[in-house]
Symmetry: C2
Subunit: 322 residues, 2 copies
């Protein structure tokens, strides 16, 4: 398959959504949007061997490359609209490319996103996606708008993806419950759910928001730095899935909850007087929203100990080039 | 240097332009644009060893990665507005990264483009840029709007970049004129000029437009396919620079003019009654615009021979995965 065949194949799969004046196939795409809206643009790259193991299933690669960008849009409270895909492949093996595209496009369609262009090149396997979303003007959820006194919340459960990575290569026992738990963790790593609907539901309620990609304390520290505040987190409140609780004992579990990346849950801050509104949001979203701490004056992320003492969290999450 | 240091360094360099509500540093950028305008989005990747030789100067890598995207916006007639950069590096060597960023940001500022976000990852050297431009609604230059009877034009000169590549490793003689010509060709390869102002000047005049990145006949064939037309090109009319004419004799020169990619000139089509307007455009742009052929019913790109016979052009330009 040659380059233009590959592009033609991608083009044939894609249905142009609302707002796409001209999609894949020209020098660039032409897009239009309603006035009164702002655009939210995110770019994320997945590199083989860095962001996913070399033996990752191609469908999971395609899914996750888009999912991490949708997660960034979710963390801004944006509605996904358009995406471009820069796909670098050592060779065009249709047994690899087809399921990759299938999964990527299916996830995009599920979220109303149109693939409008991109680039295909020969090179080491990597995918860079730029995703564009929209928000009513002025309503995006930023990192720098948290306020002292805000409660800190996190969606879903933490640490699952990190635990799945840590358990790779560890033999699975005969216990069916253990097997099921292992599968659940593996699924969380391979197919994280971007919290797109939650992000939009938090507009006008939450003050600041970020997605947990590098680890809770690392990502929350970005909100603290951007907003000029300190966070105090109670480690005992960090939500663990049943699968994580079944498979991973403390202290590993505690570390995975605090430091594990790749879960793509949302961490957000909210004024105490608005916390009551979260009950209906959680119910609508079928997703637990857990209060894990508070924000106040100062700097840094601090962990509340059983003895009431605070420990400044210095171990960061995942960093490239570290 | 760690990942966040690198991001902080990029952020410190960048001045947010008009329309940037929130630039680098959050999960995504927030952008705004006037109603009545459409957005034009292009994505291009440069991979080390594929799109540029491994020994390319870092400043040239940074320059060219943005230039090729600006060229795509130019080919749509768009005004550059915003860009995101996904930068993959084997390691963060500031002697490499600094000049790369410097050149990229300087080119962006020269064209009024704001770098609003992106991603930094560890991996083989590659840069993916998504550039966003704007056009008055309905005025973008597309590939599929050429008309039978249109004249085909090309800006500047062709074949320089291909000749520079072909001459790499060939010893330079003592003749100062030859030395100067070699430097001019090398500069065209390393620092192509995206025809941004020309693209905007062609709005409302040209019917279809494309940038010459893969080679004239390959790129013109995209216009023919998209518009359902045939092109007849006179090879003797293809514009050659003095440097190319000095250094490369026929038949190599003829092949480089027809097939050479990487020049980033614009190839466009225009109704004969509008050709007279091109004189002032060429004069304003200080850029020759050369009529090289015509469009008519049929398909394919045909070369006019000295004997008046037509030859269907089947040798394409550069293709990945070929």
């Amino acid at each position: 398959m040659r380059e233009f065949d590959l592009i033609a194949r991608i083009r044939a799969r894609v249905r142009d959504g609302e707002g796409v004046v001209l999609g894949i196939g020209d020098d660039a795409a032409i897009l239009t949007i309603d006035p009164g809206e702002q655009w939210v643009v995110s770019t994320d790259t997945l590199v083989s061997g860095v962001h996913f193991p070399l033996d990752t299933r191609p469908a999971d690669v395609g899914y996750k490359a888009l999912a991490v960008n949708l997660s960034d849009l979710a963390a801004m409270g944006a509605k996904p609209r358009f995406a471009t895909l820069a796909l670098s492949l050592p060779s065009v093996d249709s047994g690899f490319v087809e399921p990759l595209l299938e999964a990527l496009i299916a996830l995009g369609e599920a979220h109303g996103i149109s693939l409008v262009g991109g680039d295909t090149t020969r090179g080491p396997l990597s995918l860079t996606i730029t995703a564009i979303g929209s928000v009513p003007a002025g309503s995006a959820l930023r990192r720098d708008c948290a306020q002292a006194g805000d409660a800190v919340y996190v969606s879903g459960a933490l640490g699952d993806a990190a635990a799945a990575l840590a358990l790779r290569g560890v033999a699975i026992g005969a216990d069916p419950a253990e097997k099921l738990a292992r599968e659940r963790l593996a699924q969380r790593l391979a197919r994280p759910t971007p919290r797109v609907a939650l992000g939009q539901a938090l507009r006008g309620i939450a003050h600041a928001c970020i997605d947990v990609s590098d680890g809770l304390t690392a990502d929350l520290s970005h909100i603290c730095v951007a907003s000029g505040l300190a966070a105090v987190i109670d480690p005992l409140l960090l939500p663990a899935s049943r699968a994580l609780s079944t498979l991973v004992p403390d202290p590993d579990r505690r570390l995975q909850l605090q430091l594990g990346g790749d879960d793509y849950e949302l961490c957000f801050t909210i004024a105490p007087e608005h916390e009551s509104q979260l009950t209906s949001v959680a119910s609508d979203q079928h997703l637990p929203l857990t209060r894990i701490g508070t924000l106040g004056p100062g700097s840094g992320v601090h962990l509340l100990g059983a003895d009431g003492r605070l420990t400044l969290c210095t171990r960061g999450g995942y960093q490239h080039f570290a």
